[in-house]
Subunit: 348 residues, 2 copies
């Protein structure tokens, strides 16, 4: 039934006030997205007085597909997510999410408070039927093949059923959006042997062994780097630590290398020769290409862009949301949930 399903008009609500470079970079990325994709419309929620001047130089055809909806409040990076979403009815984030709930938009993007995006995903946009908790996914540019890892921080501690649902959603995302045939799914654990894992991971392993997914058992920390499976499943606590550690190591190495190179003329000469190599290496890990992290398990294409996002990262996130909507990612996940035997039916 879902085969060939396409949304004709795509509208994406963008929180123009979220992230370190808001609103300028958010508006800039939205303009670029409207230029790149003639079929889309973008609603920017935020302080009208700040947003209007940013759109003034934009050509009329593009401008006609950009709409500003004034929001008098902003959810800060340090605010309590659930409280902020509940109380700030006029926040740029909540207003944008309400548009997804009402169907005015099919997608939502923010580079703001991650916890609030997750809370809003559950409280405003709403969960899919059969999903207890949502998961934030992220593309990892790994060595052997790109991997899709979830959860990166939406659901801090999980039950086995949560991890099972994440695996199911990740597998659909990998197959339908990333076009991986029969994606291999693994569970992140403290070793690959069967006896590893805590009760929760071991419970999820049991569920996944019985499922129709192409489950390949446990994977460990170093395997993440090599990309030894298409989908890696973990709880949001572990995923968040791993994601930030990875980012930290890359930044740390860059900083150390810069310092070392400054110290030596020889090293500076070497770096000049090596620049293209380092650049190409670095590009593999560039979060601007990540395209935003989809929040899976909610009734809309909700994507979290990196807090430090500049124009290209916002463009990339909007592009990912557009693809998710075009492919009917939400419908595909719901269909999979409806046809898969639930963990309860599996007798666990």
């Amino acid at each position: 039934m879902r085969q060939g399903f396409k949304v004709k008009k795509i509208t994406i609500a963008v929180d123009a006030m979220g992230g370190d470079n808001a609103p300028r970079a958010i508006c800039g990325g939205a303009v670029q997205a409207c230029q790149a994709f003639p079929g889309i419309e973008i609603i920017l929620t935020g302080d009208e007085e700040q947003l209007r001047p940013l759109l003034e130089p934009v050509p009329a055809e593009v401008r006609s597909r950009l709409r500003i909806v004034h929001a008098g409040e902003v959810i800060g990076m340090d605010e309590h997510p659930v409280e902020a979403i509940r109380k700030k009815h006029h926040s740029s984030m909540r207003l944008a999410m309400e548009m997804v709930r009402s169907g005015e938009a099919q997608g939502f993007i923010s580079a703001g408070n991650t916890g609030a995006i997750v809370a809003g995903g559950v409280l405003i946009v709403g969960r899919l039927s059969g999903i207890d908790r949502p998961a934030l996914g992220s593309m990892l540019f790994t060595i052997e093949r790109p991997s899709f890892m979830l959860d990166m921080g939406a659901t801090v501690r999980c039950k086995p059923e949560n991890l099972y649902q994440f695996a199911l959603m990740g597998s659909v995302y990998s197959r339908k959006i990333l076009k991986v045939a029969n994606p291999e799914v693994t569970l992140l654990s403290n070793g690959t042997e069967e006896i590893k894992g805590d009760e929760c991971v071991a419970g999820a392993r049991e569920l996944l062994m019985k499922s129709a997914l192409n489950f390949k058992g446990y994977t460990e920390g170093n395997d993440i780097v090599w990309g030894r499976s298409d989908v890696i499943v973990c709880d949001g606590f572990t995923g968040n630590v791993a994601l930030k550690l990875g980012e930290g190591i890359m930044q740390g190495l860059k900083s150390l290398l810069t310092d070392e190179v400054k110290k030596s003329l020889l090293a500076r000469a070497g770096m000049a020769f090596l620049a293209p190599t380092v650049k190409s290496l670095w590009a593999r890990f560039n979060y601007e290409k990540y395209g935003g992290a989809p929040l899976l398990g909610v009734k809309g294409a909700v994507l979290k862009a990196h807090g430090r996002s500049k124009e290209p990262a916002i463009l990339s996130a909007i592009s990912a949301a557009r693809r998710f909507i075009e492919e009917d990612g939400v419908g595909l996940i719901q269909a999979e949930l409806d046809t898969s035997p639930s963990h309860r039916e599996q007798g666990i």
Copy 2:
């Protein structure tokens, strides 16, 4: 009372059969340690027929401080840790640990099955009074200052009290063995804000806030790299994933860089100039300098050496065990446990 306490004769039991390069590298490292430290004696447990020839070329004075104790069994890397320790009475690992229990040796080192070392630490060597679960610590060569992180995989899932005990032990280790004045202790979490963390981490935070430790709150994945605290506390699942991810990223980068450099003459020229810089950078992350991971919370200096350890790593682990014994690490941790109000007394 413990002030100035020194063990006069130091005996370290070494599992000669554990690790990828056993027994040759283990014996080689033990010989080097006896040469480096005139005051120590080493007992090598393992297959006498294999070990004896390896010690033949050793000078008589050094040889006199090396003793072989025959062990007819070996615990494999893939064996179930608890079962292996329980059943293999004649394994090189168990025999060596029994020497620590009997007092014949004060320390024990193995590059073998980590789970079995932990199981043996609890079942054979025995826990300190006031410790529910042990923790494996590891030195991290981070940017601002070295950090000591625990648990790296001994206790897969923890209760708040376990994390509190790890913090206490880590703080003593940092202060007394690593000579850090008033070490700063942090808890690894999915963000630095108070509202982050799951129930367990939040519970540990409560305990640590009330304690006399120099507790600085939560730390996140990227902070590990920068070394923003002296002691980082986490459960063994998260610590294991983080440790392996860090190792994996470094190995992955090395492999990618090697491939890229092969492709380009310019890059090869650059690498030639850069070689000393890369070498010095690499050396910061060299596990051979880690000196082994101490298993804290047991009645002896039990250290786990890296599975891939060669001679220098074994020497380094023996050297760390020697320092731990000389400083009476076990006694200091027990004294701290005895004088600190327990979590129960703290009313949590």
